[in-house]
């Protein structure tokens, strides 16, 4: 393999990896706060991609349609928490038990898929590029040619992840989230409104999915049923990274993306299965993730 091919594969891998990391960050913040995640996270991403596409076709300016789409995703996050997550607290002891949220969020995901299908049709669609002037605008670095769009996607995704990390670690909301994650009752006693913190977590999660959707539109084809794959991969990335460590999730996302790029290059038939199998093997060997410490439940 030539050096330039390797470099190109690596950049493509990093691009997809940063998308996985964005989607997985959403899973991370929701899981941290409520121990639940949106099993339709990938579908939310898909919805954002289609919204940008649709609004653009209506003649809205690109920046405006991106902003509107991301705000819509925020609203969808709010809706998700109110409809599919919070009401389940009422029946903790029934047999669906602790995992009812998997089914309710999956239910919303199905509704989202079908709605998109009704509006934009079943076939795959291309979104116009956001940053470059035409679809395949290339830049040449060290003799290797890259899609400009991909490079900018990586940079934007990294910026968003950095903002997210600041939000989690430094801001007041982030601290509130840490407290709710530690113990909701303690949080209530400290005067933190746990309900709004949980809503906030799901809104941020959906916004992250929205950003991912906006970015991914121009680099892959959009298709109403694409979401599940991204949900699965993001879940795997989050698990491999260790669900409690955002930096680990970021690294996990990059590793997964690169692994996938190379394995697709060498085996076009089953290429996308190998990273999944490797990751599952890793989960089996180290269920708490490679970058997280195992904590004992000391009572």
């Amino acid at each position: 393999m030539e050096f330039s091919t390797a470099l190109q594969l690596t950049i493509s891998g990093l691009t997809m990896g940063s998308i996985y990391a964005l989607v997985a960050m959403g899973l991370y913040i929701a899981h941290l706060t409520t121990h639940r995640v949106n099993f339709g996270q990938g579908d939310y991403m898909m919805v954002a991609g289609f919204l940008v596409l649709g609004l653009g076709r209506l003649g809205l300016h690109a920046i405006l349609s991106v902003l509107v789409s991301i705000c819509m995703l925020g609203l969808m996050g709010y809706f998700l928490e109110r409809v599919a997550i919070r009401p389940l607290d009422r029946f903790k002891r029934i047999s669906v038990g602790a995992y009812g949220w998997i089914l309710t969020t999956a239910g919303l995901a199905l509704i989202a898929q079908n709605s998109v299908e009704l509006v934009w049709g079943k076939s795959a669609q291309y979104s116009p590029p956001l940053f470059s002037s035409k679809r395949d605008q290339m830049v040449t670095i060290f003799g290797a040619r890259f899609l400009l769009e991909e490079l900018i996607v990586i940079i934007v995704a990294m910026t968003v992840v950095a903002c997210f990390l600041w939000l989690i670690k430094k801001s007041r909301w982030g601290k509130a989230i840490q407290v709710v994650a530690f113990n909701p009752e303690t949080a209530e006693l400290l005067g933190i409104n746990t309900k709004s913190v949980k809503i906030f977590a799901f809104v941020v999660a959906s916004v992250l999915a929205g950003v991912a959707g906006v970015l991914i539109g121009p680099i892959v084809t959009l298709q109403p049923h694409m979401g599940l794959v991204f949900t699965i991969k993001a879940l795997i990335v989050a698990t491999v990274g260790g669900f409690s460590n955002p930096v680990g999730i970021l690294i996990g996302g990059f590793l997964f993306g690169i692994c996938e790029a190379y394995s697709n290059y060498f085996d076009s038939q089953f290429g996308d299965l190998y990273p999944l199998l490797i990751a599952l093997g890793m989960v089996a060997l180290r269920p708490s993730g490679i970058f997280s410490e195992r904590s004992d439940d000391v009572r």
Binding site: H31, H35, R36, V37, F39, V83, A84, P87, L88, F91, R93, I94, S95, V96, G97, A98, Y99, G100, I102, L103, T104, A106, G107, L108, A109, L110, I111, Q113, N114, S115, E117, L118, L228, V229, T231, I232, L235, I236, T239, F243, Q269, F270, D272, L273, L276, L277, A279, L280, V283, A284, P287, E293, D296, V298, R299
Partner: protein
């Protein structure tokens, strides 16, 4: 909660199954149209898969989002062996089922280390991988174009062939339903519920948690595999489009809509699912929206499902449901001799992330004596108990029961050696009655075959265990709570139930972790009396407790921990006079700690 327990039934199960079997043989003569027969076949194999899913999710609480994968493995296993290797159907279907069983066991091994969200993710990914493989491994599976001319069950004509196949499907369904009923109505059903609510608890009554979880997973997968095999031979064609995640979701919908954790739920749910599928057949455009809305509707508004709703209605109309009243015939405990052993802790060390919680602690609990373990908060008492019980692995030293070093044996193994415990934070199984909680402690009385025979002939396979549980409860003075759920009785009684469960394990050593914390004086006196009686029956008891009066009046010997170190061991009188102990509790002059 809605499951019928094996005690209250009045009809012999075998009659029901025999009637079902006769119906299976007669149904082909009912003169149904080809369409109805096809639907009935579909109902049978779908129900088989849903029964497995219900056992997995409803009883053992393990989520599988990849059941379509096991279904596909069964289908391809049976289709390919019969098509390409010319195996007869009666061989290929069991083969497909077995293949899924092993796939399930394999995923179950993953499942051992993962819980909840992770398990859901693992199974989702598994289903996805199988789906992709089925699509792209065209040489083997035919991909979306599928495999055609898969051998089918023969018959003298087209319609008699499909009737024969219906009979086969029905018999399979009957057998699976019977197996699931047997599992859920006997001790194994209790164990699964215990496993779902608290694994630490399940292990502490001697259940080998990993094996149970993997076995449930394998059983659930085998059901899906059998269903898939039957599907493959139904119309002689399978294509990879049939095995997407949508199938997994449909099966989950059937399980949830019918009522998770109930016997009739899977059958009802499958029937409802098929009606829905038929109704929306013309509305393919809105199919997913309808599925999604059903999921939300059922989970948010009707979480007990159809079986739960029916159960509630029927109990409203037939409030005087027959239940056999049991009298306590045996006075005292079902076992009158405990062979208490000596428990020795030697140089025990336990560290949490470098913090040494227990530092080379050694003491001996003499056979048949009561030994107290005391110390200020954070002294390491609970850690010692948990290490002895096998919940935590120690970092040094050893725990010796009798003359047997326990090494790194797990909780379940220790429990089966006779090491029973109670918990500081009560661990009772909320979904089953008090008596059943106690029954969890008993070891299996008879072989599986004998239990099955008793169950199917309604000899009351549970009766002996129930009576013994009742007499243990009677021994503690709370026999009247036997039929209640743990959530319905007072905190003091719940503590006694925990003790009752530990006694049911017929322990050689009993570990009591703060048995009277949170109790009033009368209740504490009751516990003290029970502990004394147990001692006189020969049980060795290690007791952790903060209440000094309780400890000093009961114990033969007392050990004192302070900051993870043993600072004194001796008779209560010696301990009360020990200057270091007094300093640890009250602080000494010039002491800087606290």
């Amino acid at each position: 909660m809605f499951a019928r327990d094996a005690l209250s039934g009045t009809r012999a199960p075998w009659l029901v199954y025999l009637a079902g079997f006769l119906a299976c043989l007669l149904l082909p003569y009912a003169g149904f149209s080809g369409f109805v027969v096809h639907q009935l076949q579909t109902f049978c194999y779908t129900a088989i898969a849903v029964i497995g899913l219900n056992l997995l999710l409803g009883f053992s609480g393990q989520m599988s989002l990849g059941h379509a994968g096991f279904f596909a493995i069964g289908a391809y296993g049976s289709a390919i062996t019969s098509l390409k290797l010319n195996w007869p159907i009666y061989l290929s279907i069991p083969f497909g089922t077995a293949l899924s069983f092993f796939a399930g066991a394999l995923v179950g091994v993953f499942a051992l280390r993962t819980r909840g969200l992770y398990l859901a993710m693992t199974t989702l990914a598994f289903g996805f991988i199988v789906d992709i493989a089925a699509q792209r491994w065209v040489d083997l599976t035919g991909g979306t174009m599928g495999l055609m001319l898969i051998p089918q069950v023969g018959g003298s004509s087209m319609s008699s062939a499909s009737f024969n196949y219906l009979a086969l499907c029905l018999v399979c369904l009957l057998l699976v339903q019977m197996a699931a009923d047997f599992i859920s109505e006997t001790a194994s059903g209790r164990s699964l519920r215990a496993l779902r609510e608290s694994e630490i608890f399940a292990a502490s009554v001697g259940l080998n948690v990993p094996i149970w979880r993997a076995a449930t997973f394998a059983f659930g997968s085998a059901c899906a595999g059998l269903a898939g095999s039957l599907f493959a031979h139904q119309s002689g064609f399978i294509g990879s489009d049939a095995f997407t995640v949508r199938l997994s979701v449909a099966m989950l919908i059937a399980a949830v809509i019918g009522g998770l954790g109930t016997r009739s739920g899977p059958l009802l749910g499958t029937a409802i699912l098929l009606v829905i599928v038929e109704t929306i057949a013309g509305q393919e455009k809105f199919g997913l929206i309808i599925y999604g809305l059903i999921l939300l509707f059922v989970l948010l508004i009707f979480p007990e499902g159809a079986a739960g709703a029916i159960g509630r209605l029927s109990s409203k109309f037939a409030s005087g449901a027959k239940s056999i009243v049991y009298n306590v015939t045996k006075l005292g405990l079902p076992f009158n001799q405990f062979n208490g052993l000596q428990l020795e802790v030697k140089g025990l060390v336990k560290k949490y992330h470098g913090v040494t919680a227990v530092d080379s602690v050694s003491f001996k609990v003499k056979a048949g004596s009561i030994h107290g373990l005391i110390g200020p908060n954070g002294a390491g008492k609970s850690t010692v108990i948990n290490v002895i019980a096998g919940v935590y692995r120690h970092d040094g030293g050893s725990v010796i029961l009798g003359d047997h070093d326990l090494g790194f044996k797990g909780t379940a193994q220790r429990a089966s050696l006779g090491l029973a415990r109670t918990f500081q934070n009560l661990q009772l199984i909320q979904a089953i009655t008090v008596a059943e909680n106690v029954m969890l402690g008993f070891k299996p009385r008879w072989s599986l075959a004998r239990t099955f025979f008793d169950w199917i002939s309604l000899k009351g396979c549970e009766r002996a265990d129930f009576e013994d549980a009742l007499s243990v409860l009677q021994f503690l003075g709370i026999a009247d709570t036997a039929k209640k759920l743990p959530g319905e009785i007072s905190f003091g009684h719940r503590k006694l139930v925990e003790l009752a469960r530990a006694i049911a394990q017929q322990p050689v050593v009993l570990l009591l972790d703060e048995p009277i914390a949170g109790l009033n004086t009368a209740e504490a006196k009751k516990i003290a009396e029970v502990v004394r009686q147990l001692k006189s029956l020969g049980v060795t008891i290690l007791l952790v407790e903060h209440n000094m009066e309780f400890v000093m009046s009961l114990c033969d010997e007392v050990s004192v921990l302070h900051y993870g170190r043993l600072i004194a061991t001796g008779t209560p009188a010696e301990i009360q006079a020990n200057a270091e102990v007094i300093a640890a509790y009250l602080g000494s002059k010039g002491s800087t700690d606290d």
